[in-house]
């Protein structure tokens, strides 16, 4: 199929340029509106009573003392809340999957530290917290299943009915692949790689205000997907969708954590119908780290077989992930992507995979920026380890295996269809930006002086803009107002990813008007078209499609009106710079304002077959099943081999997300994701002790990288158009996918004179010293 290119028109002024973000003025001057900025008359505040035990039977919840406290309105338990749930499923997965249990409040048994057991409603958050301390819960502590790695052999079950604590398993390809290919291969390299739990940590924690009034529910939410909040609210409460309005103005970061309303959000929706005023719940940081879900916690045995010259013959990954107690959404399907993308941007003739999802008495697994990124972590670490074992430079090993332009389109051995990517080009570009050969010389010179520098690379392909199910379409409404000013309505929503700027830029180009004349309205289900929001790196391409489709209708109408008024042929009308002019006669023309005036105020002078007004809605359908993006990350670092401290020296990302709508936005997305990945490699660890207690429940112990730990990130851009509007591809998640292995490989390269192999994340000063001790001892 030849992709249909609906690129920017010849009049494009803004696409591809570093337009300033339209969101910045209000955010930087403190005029952003986050959930906690919402105040309603008589508003009440919620606080959750949470289990202090990883696993405990709940024999009773006593609220008498809490209810007696001045200012307390109600205390609801599972018995009050859970029976109100009509149905609970998420649009992204649909309702026909074998979903895992997800009670709103813990019922009968608490299953992780932080599991919500009751919701307290009071006149202020302070009083709600005071009252929460007075709620007495009769817990009978039970033996928890803490470590997912041994959960299969545990005598206890996290959920009845899930034998051996297995939430689900999937596999693909020949399960005996390595046994069949291995014996005849020159090299087989296999390592078990483990990644710690780390999480999204949005600057704004979760939050919701729900107001039940006159049979209608109004919700202000911190979310990546207001329409999904409405859809799930409708299902849970059994309320018709048109009786629910969800509003989000600003959300301080989502990264997957806010892609679906979680148990507490739903609990507030239910509770809001039982109290006489709006109900607000703002999650605090401790709750966010304890109960907003975990991600990344997994391991996999990755294996590759190579020919004598390093050519990859086969690849296999046997993956196991921790899904905690209450994963959201269903985690088994997502895990399949780990196996299916494992071959990555390389020629891999044969591949197989298996994945198992294990329950544990810890926070449930949720989506986090590139939820399948373990495929890149495992593959890219393995390639470096393999290269060292084969005595080939890791860069050279990759060069021998990258897919080249003439390999495309290419079907991965797992069935994934790759096209419109540039693995070799971004790789070489990134190495050029580094000056790889010069770095190797610098590294050698440093080693002479007892200093240990290293370089690591990481390359990946990433499916963006999935056409699956509800993700497959996006709508836009564009209204040219009677003065010629333009409002564009898309589901969108500002979660920090500049969707407002993007919508405004694309609309200005599509209508040939000045960017100052375009405004966008997003994040309100009452006025914006349905759309599933931010997720799966879909917004850029899908908004471009929606705006493009809708603007085409309006352009035709504008041109028809202009042609009629100017007594010219439709084909001779040009639309640019806010004017419709007759080709070859630039003085003959009408401004958009004049045309709009006619369209609304002087319908009698319109062409007879033209609809009055200048408003149109359209819905775009994704053209390809997904749009592949790709990148190479390169990191250099210095390791202090006495203390194990790692200092990142340079960080380079060369990526191909197709033509860029706005390079500032693209680089912002890459930088944010990369910093999260650096956090995963070196700092962040949502750890539990062996008894199941979270031990990184504040920012004292949960270490986010700060500006002092992160170098300026350098960018390279290769622009291979993808099969969608403008050739645009998604870029939201890649940074977080590519960064961890680049950092780890750099550290491993620095330590290569010692013969250290790194397979466990995060790499901490203490773990580096321990690894060095180990090799010295052996």
């Amino acid at each position: 199929m030849v992709p249909q290119m609906t690129g920017p028109t010849s009049a494009a002024r803004y696409a591809g340029t570093r337009v300033h973000r339209v969101e910045d003025a209000r955010l930087l001057t403190g005029y952003g509106t986050f959930v906690d900025d919402i105040t309603r008359p008589g508003m009440l505040h919620a606080c959750f009573v949470r289990s202090p035990f990883p696993r405990a039977r709940i024999d009773g919840v006593h609220a008498t003392e809490a209810l007696a406290l001045d200012g307390v309105h109600a205390v609801f338990t599972a018995a009050d809340i859970n029976p109100e749930v009509h149905e609970l499923w998420y649009s992204i997965m649909g309702k026909d999957i074998p979903d895992t249990p997800r009670p709103l409040l813990a019922e009968g048994e608490a299953r992780f530290v932080g599991d919500p057991v009751a919701i307290v409603v009071a006149g202020s958050r302070y009083v709600a917290e005071d009252a929460a301390e007075l709620v007495e819960v009769d817990y009978e502590p039970l033996e928890p299943v803490v470590d997912y790695r041994s959960a299969r052999d545990a005598s206890e079950l996290v959920h009845e009915g899930y034998e051996k604590n297995v939430a689900g398993r999937l596999r693909g390809g020949n399960k005996d692949l390595m046994a069949e290919v291995g014996p005849s291969a020159a090299h087989v390299v296999s390592e078990t790689i483990h990644q710690q739990a780390y999480v999204a940590c949005p600057m704004e924690t979760r939050g919701i205000v729900a107001e039940w009034s006159g049979g209608e529910m109004t919700i202000w939410a911190g979310t990546q997907a207001p329409h999904e909040v409405r859809a799930v609210c409708s299902r849970v409460l059994g309320l018709p969708e048109h009786r629910i309005r969800v509003i989000m103005r600003d959300t301080g970061g989502g990264f997957g954590q806010k892609v679906a309303p979680l148990r507490e959000d739903l609990c507030v929706m239910v509770a809001a119908r039982k109290v006489p005023a709006a109900l607000k719940w703002i999650e605090d940081r401790r709750e966010n780290l304890m109960a907003a879900g975990q991600a990344r916690h997994e391991h996999g045995t990755a294996s590759m077989a190579f020919a004598e010259d390093g050519t990859i013959l086969a690849a296999n990954i046997v993956h196991t992930q921790d899904v905690g107690a209450y994963p959201t959404p269903w985690p088994v399907g997502t895990a399949a992507a780990v196996g299916m993308i494992f071959p990555g941007p390389y020629r891999v003739p044969q591949a197989a995979w298996a994945t198992t999802s294990m329950f544990s008495n810890t926070a449930g697994r949720i989506a986090y920026r590139g939820p399948w990124q373990f495929e890149t972590v495992a593959r890219e670490l393995l390639l470096d380890i393999a290269a060292r074992r084969m005595d080939i430079d890791p860069v050279e090993l990759r060069r021998r295996n990258f897919l080249a332009a003439d390999d495309l389109p290419y079907a991965m051995a797992t069935g994934m269809p790759l096209d419109h990517i540039s693995p070799r080009e971004v790789f070489e570009h990134a190495l050029e930006l580094l000056d790889h050969d010069a770095f190797r010389e610098e590294q050698a010179a440093a080693r002479e002086q007892g200093r240990y520098l290293g370089v690591g690379t990481s390359s990946y392909v990433e499916p963006t803009t999935s056409a699956m199910g509800a993700f497959g379409t996006e709508g836009a409404t564009i209204r040219v107002e009677p003065t010629g000013k333009v409002n564009v309505y898309v589901a969108g929503g500002s979660t920090g990813n500049s969707l407002e700027t993007t919508a405004v830029q694309l609309t200005a180009d599509a209508l040939g008007v000045a960017i100052e004349d375009v405004n966008t309205i997003q994040g309100d289900t009452a006025v914006t078209p349905f759309g599933l929001g931010t997720g799966g790196s879909r917004s850029g391409s899908m908004i471009a499609g929606a705006v493009g489709t809708t603007a085409r209708t309006l352009r035709e109408r504008i041109i028809a009106i202009a042609a009629h008024k100017l007594e010219a042929a439709v084909e001779d009308i040009e639309l640019a710079d806010g004017r419709a002019t007759v080709r070859g006669t630039p003085t003959a023309g009408l401004s958009i304002a004049e045309i709009a005036h006619t369209a609304y105020f002087d319908a009698a002078s319109l062409p007879p077959d033209i609809e009055p007004g200048l408003e149109a809605s359209g819905r775009y359908r994704a053209e390809a099943m997904s749009i592949w993006a790709n990148a190479t990350h390169v990191c250099t670092c210095e390791v202090d081999v006495t203390t194990g401290m790692v200092t990142i020296l340079r960080y380079i990302v060369s990526e191909d997300c197709g033509p860029m709508i706005n390079p500032n936005v693209v680089e912002g997305q890459i930088d944010g994701g990369t910093v999260q990945g650096i956090g995963g490699a070196l700092y962040e660890h949502l750890a539990y002790d062996e008894d199941g207690n979270p031990i990184a429940a504040t920012f004292v112990d949960y270490l986010m990288p700060t500006i002092a730990e992160v170098p300026v990130i350098e960018h390279g851009h290769i622009e291979t158009p993808g099969p969608g509007p403008g050739g645009y591809k998604g870029v939201g998640e890649g940074g977080a996918i590519g960064a961890p292995p680049a950092v780890i490989n750099a550290v491993a390269d620095a330590l290569s004179p010692f013969g250290v192999t790194i397979t466990d994340l995060p790499v901490t000063p203490a773990s580096i010293v321990a690894l060095l001790d180990e090799v010295r001892a052996s």
């Binding site: 990184a696 112990d701 000063p765």
Partner: protein, 291 residues
């Protein structure tokens, strides 16, 4: 993360503050910058019925020389210390240690007295006070007394101060002569509490022998510690005879209560502690040698 209810008092003099402490008893806590206390209150790890905020007590602020010592008022903000020429001249170790405390936003509020009285073993000021043999002035309804730093730190977040006693200031002896000072610490990120750290003060005689020295250790026990064995071994020796690595190892040799947590096991901290001593020693001796 909302503190439990408390009454808030803002006395304007030391006498009033001490009076409040006396009348409120152990239901009251002094607030001296709040950079540790307030998060603990918000997490409800600490609950007090009364907070006595010292921010308006002018008497507690100041930096001045007093008979061979530098007096720093307990209420003096860390940011003020950081900017003080007097501190740089009279207590270079205090000056060097200050920028390592948290982040500048924390130092804008955090005070010397708050840090000393909170007595976190991984904090910089307790180690500096111990290294320099500082004396801590305190006032209670029973009058004023001076507590040597060696007796001040008694355990995890606990000091020799009585419940009704207010820290007034710290007297840091001024080292004269061919002296050098250094602090080295290892934190996972900029501004974090150190996994291990060391402070060194050294004075050389005219033959480049160690006339006196002090080695402080932070984050390596439940209290700040001195590397006494290493100090004793070094005094009187010529600096070129001394191996900094050996001094580092000797300084941590007696430690038997090195903490362990998510960030690092005890063994690691001990080794890094030795390395920090060694690096601080090297820098301090270099500086002294230039004098």
């Amino acid at each position: 993360m909302k503190p439990a209810p408390f009454d808030y008092h803002v006395p304007e003099s030391v006498d009033d503050a001490v009076g409040l402490l006396a009348s409120l008893g152990d239901t009251a806590k002094l607030l001296a910058g709040g950079q540790s206390l307030v998060p603990m209150l918000a997490l409800r790890l600490a609950v007090f019925e009364h907070l006595v905020d010292l921010r308006r007590v002018e008497e507690l602020r100041g930096i001045e020389r007093r008979n061979g010592s530098l007096w720093v008022g307990a209420g003096t903000r860390q940011a003020v210390i950081e900017a003080s020429d007097e501190v740089r001249a009279a207590a270079p170790l205090l000056a060097q240690a200050t920028p390592l405390i948290g982040h500048f936003q924390i130092r804008n509020r955090g005070t010397v007295g708050g840090s000393l009285a909170h007595a976190d073993s991984a904090a910089e000021y307790p180690a500096v006070a111990l290294t320099l043999d500082a004396e801590l002035e305190a006032q209670s309804p029973r009058g004023r007394r001076t507590i040597p730093a060696t007796e001040f730190f008694t355990g995890v977040w606990s000091t020799a101060l009585d419940e009704d006693e207010l820290l007034l200031g710290v007297l840091l002896p001024v080292w004269e002569g061919r002296c050098g000072f250094a602090i080295e610490e290892l934190a996972r990120r900029h501004g974090d509490f150190a996994l291990a750290g060391a402070t060194v003060a050294v004075e050389l005689d005219c033959d480049d022998r160690v006339a006196r020295c002090a080695i402080g250790l932070l984050g390596l026990d439940s209290v700040p510690r001195r590397g006494s064995a290493a100090e004793t071994a070094a005094v009187g020796r010529a600096i070129h005879e001394l191996d900094p690595q050996e001094i580092g190892r000797a300084a941590v040799a007696e430690l038997d209560n090195v903490p362990a947590d998510l960030h690092a096991p005890a063994d690691y901290r001990r080794r890094v502690g030795a390395e920090m001593v060694s690096r601080a020693w090297t820098r301090a001796v270099e500086e002294a040698g230039r004098g």
